[in-house]
């Protein structure tokens, strides 16, 4: 690749980012709604003591954005420390921004749109591989973000007493993802799609 091709690729990348951003601006809420059953199943596996319910709520204070709202019911008493617990049936709410959750998808999608390939079929194959991979990335990040926020609110109470409940693994994972790990996941997902695409046959 020479300098001119590099500049062309960068312009293509910017255009792909614009198009993907516009698409997610219009269809991001529908896309996320389709993923809700998978996200709920992931959350049940991560935190069996809670029954999650998800909803998209138009943000009151933010333009162009929805909140993904998690309502979770305690299926068993949740012990916070030696003296405090949340009773069965207690209802908790936390939320995350839809656009924030879609950032890894945009990074992955933009890379897949500009990665040099031999023909259009290869590009379509890359994008087709990218869709389930993007769903996996969202499943790896969003449930941890929502449950992690909930756990932080538990910990704020738990730490006030003796024997606070242990911090679950997904809080560390959430912090890693929020620091930039989700971007790494987007790049890693794109790279895996590229590797898979190279292995698959494609008729010219």
């Amino acid at each position: 690749m020479n300098r001119r091709e590099l500049i062309f690729t960068m312009l293509k990348g910017f255009s792909a980012w614009l198009v993907l951003s516009a698409l997610l601006g219009y269809f991001g809420d529908a896309l996320m709604t389709v993923l809700f059953p998978l996200l709920k199943a992931t959350m049940i596996m991560m935190s069996p003591e809670l029954f999650p319910s998800l909803a998209l709520v138009k943000s009151a204070h933010a333009s162009f954005d929805y909140s993904i709202e998690l309502s979770a019911w305690a299926l068993h008493p949740i012990y916070l420390n030696a003296g405090q617990y949340m009773p069965t049936g207690a209802d908790f709410k936390v939320s995350a921004h839809l656009l924030h959750a879609l950032v890894p998808l945009v990074i992955e999608g933009t890379i897949l749109c500009v990665w040099p390939v031999h023909c259009l079929r290869r590009r379509l194959l890359l994008i087709a591989l990218g869709l389930p991979m993007a769903a996996l990335v969202i499943m790896a990040t969003l449930p941890a973000q929502l449950l992690g926020k909930l756990e932080i609110s538990f910990q704020n109470i738990a730490l006030a007493g003796q024997n606070p409940r242990p911090i679950p693994w997904f809080v560390d994972w959430m912090v890693f993802c929020e620091m930039g790990g989700r971007w790494l996941l987007g790049i890693a997902a794109a790279w895996l799609c590229i590797q898979l695409q190279r292995q698959l046959p494609c008729k010219h």
């Binding site: 204070h61 890693f176 930039g180 790990g181 790049i187």
Partner: protein
């Protein structure tokens, strides 16, 4: 040569990122708020904003940019560290000579630092004048554009580092 070791390079890239992230969390919050963010980010952004818009009269205070219109707090993660770690990891594991890597790292870190100062200054104006746009800019536009800029810089650097080390045999 690169193709043979792609998986290894990729695993090293992730490992390098994880190590940088781990080291970052070993730095105490107080050091960030009172020293690093104050001298490295808040003072510079306050000067930049006051130079661009003198009527703003932004005051730097610890990790806050304060004016009568906004109070922008710089917290852990708002320093561009995530993008910086991605870029540094990519340059460190890419097969090139040490001199090229050093140049790439210095220029790359400078680029991310400048972009982050611009991001924070823009966020100040957004929160001061168009608060409804804050989430869009903060959680979507700024991070995606910064990652894209880092990817573009890395691609440019990798192409401009034509060492024999990654030429085909």
């Amino acid at each position: 040569m690169i193709k043979q070791y792609e998986w290894l390079i990729f695993i090293l890239f992730i490992g390098c990122y994880a190590l940088l992230d781990y080291a970052y969390f070993k730095i105490p919050d107080e050091l960030f708020a009172n020293v690093i963010y104050y001298h490295g980010v808040v003072l510079v952004c306050a000067d930049l904003i006051n130079w661009l818009a003198p009527l703003e009269q932004v005051l730097p205070k610890q990790n806050h940019l304060i004016s009568n219109k906004a109070d922008l707090e710089i917290v852990r993660g708002c320093d561009g560290a995530g993008v910086l770690f991605l870029l540094v990891s990519a340059i460190l594991v890419f097969p090139a000579k040490s001199g090229k890597k050093l140049t790439g790292l210095m220029l790359g870190m400078g680029l991310i630092y400048v972009l982050n100062l611009l991001r924070i200054s823009v966020l100040y104006f957004v929160i001061a004048y168009q608060a409804g746009w804050f989430q869009l800019v903060h959680t979507y536009l700024a991070p995606t554009l910064m990652v894209m800029a880092a990817c573009a810089y890395f691609a440019g650097w990798a192409l401009a580092a034509p060492d024999k080390i990654h030429e085909p045999a």
